[in-house]
């Protein structure tokens, strides 16, 4: 209608600006400036050239790490979906008591620190841990090294990120009107075709939401791959940290950080166009 706009021009209201300015100024100084610092360093450290980007985008090591990060994130996302979908289904369609217990468990997992869960996997997969003991018990003489491999870090990441997927899918499933399923059944849909043509499309928004969230977090994951992964198969965040901490290569680290940020923002922008970013974490 254009009514609200002309209302604005009639009497400019200073209240929102007054309320917003402390946070705005704060974020400018302590969020935007450090971020800009990274951007600037990527071009100027150690000398003002594009050398850092040339190296990051064409160097074999960096290309491998980027590819590795991407594939790992995709794999973790797929596994989270595979693991999360049935559990969300169970939560949404079980008796209230069972559903409540699972919800409690998932919430617990969600709130337990990344570090604690990473540590747990060290225990579970360690050379003196239960999994190795189990493998020996069933007759595998020399069980493979589980810890500090791509396997251990991927498994732990799936475990750590699955709650994001589960919560997203669950919240969509819970809102599905049971009458919709009944009416689909009355129209002759059953078994897999009911799932394929009715239930799955209805839960698609939850899947999209959960997948984007898991994928994006996984792309920038630092703690778990560094602690549990193989040093020879680093992910991008680990490599950035390594460059900064070990070699004080701020320029190179910043350039990688900018590439990581760019990829993340592209994914989130696509999501934002389609669904609105506030839905992702809401």
């Amino acid at each position: 209608m254009g009514t609200s706009l002309s209302k604005l021009t009639e009497k400019p209201n200073i209240w929102p600006w007054l309320l917003l300015s402390p946070l705005g100024i704060y974020m400018l100084i302590f969020f935007v400036v450090p971020l800009a610092d990274v951007a600037i360093m990527s071009f100027t450290e150690p000398r003002p050239t594009l050398a850092n980007y040339t190296k990051v985008l064409t160097g074999a090591l960096y290309q491998r790490v980027f590819l590795n990060t991407f594939l790992t994130a995709a794999f973790v996302t797929a596994c989270c979906l595979l693991v999360g979908y049935p559990l969300a289904y169970l939560m949404a369609h079980s008796k209230p008591r069972t559903a409540m217990l699972i919800l409690l468990l998932v919430t617990m997992s969600f709130w337990t620190s990344f570090l604690v869960r990473t540590y747990s996997w060290m225990v579970l997969l360690g050379n003196n841990g239960p999994l190795i003991a189990f493998l020996q018990m069933i007759g595998i003489e020399s069980p493979p090294q589980l810890l500090f491999t791509r396997f251990s870090s991927t498994l732990a990441m799936i475990h750590i990120l699955a709650p994001y997927m589960i919560m997203n899918i669950y919240s969509v499933m819970k809102k599905i009107d049971p009458a919709l399923i009944r009416s689909a059944e009355s129209l002759g849909a059953k078994g897999f075709s009911l799932f394929r043509h009715v239930y799955l499309p209805l839960t698609a928004p939850g899947i999209a939401n959960g997948s984007v969230l898991v994928f994006v977090i996984c792309l920038g994951f630092y703690v778990t791959p560094v602690l549990l992964g193989s040093p020879r198969e680093q992910m991008i965040a680990g490599l950035i940290g390594h460059q900064i901490e070990e070699f004080l290569a701020f320029g190179l680290g910043s350039a990688m950080a900018m590439v990581l940020l760019a990829v993340t923002l592209v994914i989130l922008t696509i999501y934002h166009r389609r669904f609105g970013l506030d839905k992702l974490w809401g």
Binding site: P16, P22, L90, Y119, M122, N128, F195, L260, T264
Partner: protein, 267 residues
Amino acid sequence: MNTFMRWAGFLVVLFIAAPLVIVVPMSFSDARSLQFPPPGYWLGYYRAYFTDMSWLIPTWNSILIATATMILTMLLVVPATFALVRHRFRGKGFADLMMLMPLAVPHIVMAVGYYSYFGQLRLVPTPFGVILAHTCLSVPIAFLVLSANLKGFDRNLERAAQSLGANPARTFIHVTLPILRPGLIISALFAFVQSFDETVVAIFISGRGAETLPRKMFDSIRQEADPVIAVISTLLFAIVLVGIVAPYFISTLRSRAPKPSKPTGAH
């Protein structure tokens, strides 16, 4: 489909639950390194945690930093949320989006920025640097929780208060604030937990001067895997358990109390 889903669900429950509970027996283990099942049980590592300053100081630092972060976050976010939820103005869409940006930027990117920028400001091995950085990361989370609450706030309640003779300030104190209290508490709690758990930025900027618990744990896991970590994990796990389960039980007890005649179902 249903039976399959049930079995798959059961396996997933096991997958999610096992790593959560395994730290509990580990914390009572008397083994020197990671070993499960533990060869024997004792409380030695609990004593070690509660007497070792190299663990207690980071714990204290984390509590202090998280509390300060929570207060600073709320001071900034509460007025901003009122502005963004209650007012329409030019650039609001952009401001809404900007509120969420710290969630979109990977922590490692921010860590690089803070390491360099706060280094120049001489904030690097100080608690202030960590508090300032953590506040940025807590802002979007506190905002999301609070704005959801504020959007659901019935403005007629404030109108009613005014029609009944309360001026804007008294309306805020007597009506808006008390009704919004649960949202404010949850929002503050999220900010606290975000800071308390934050690892990546803390690894880069907390240094020796303000070592946080996650940083200490990270270093310890990386170097020697001190069994004390199992103790801390168990304690953190216990806090989360109490924090999540207790409110649930209180709310069920409360909702049952006034209506004893309501059928309570099978127990």
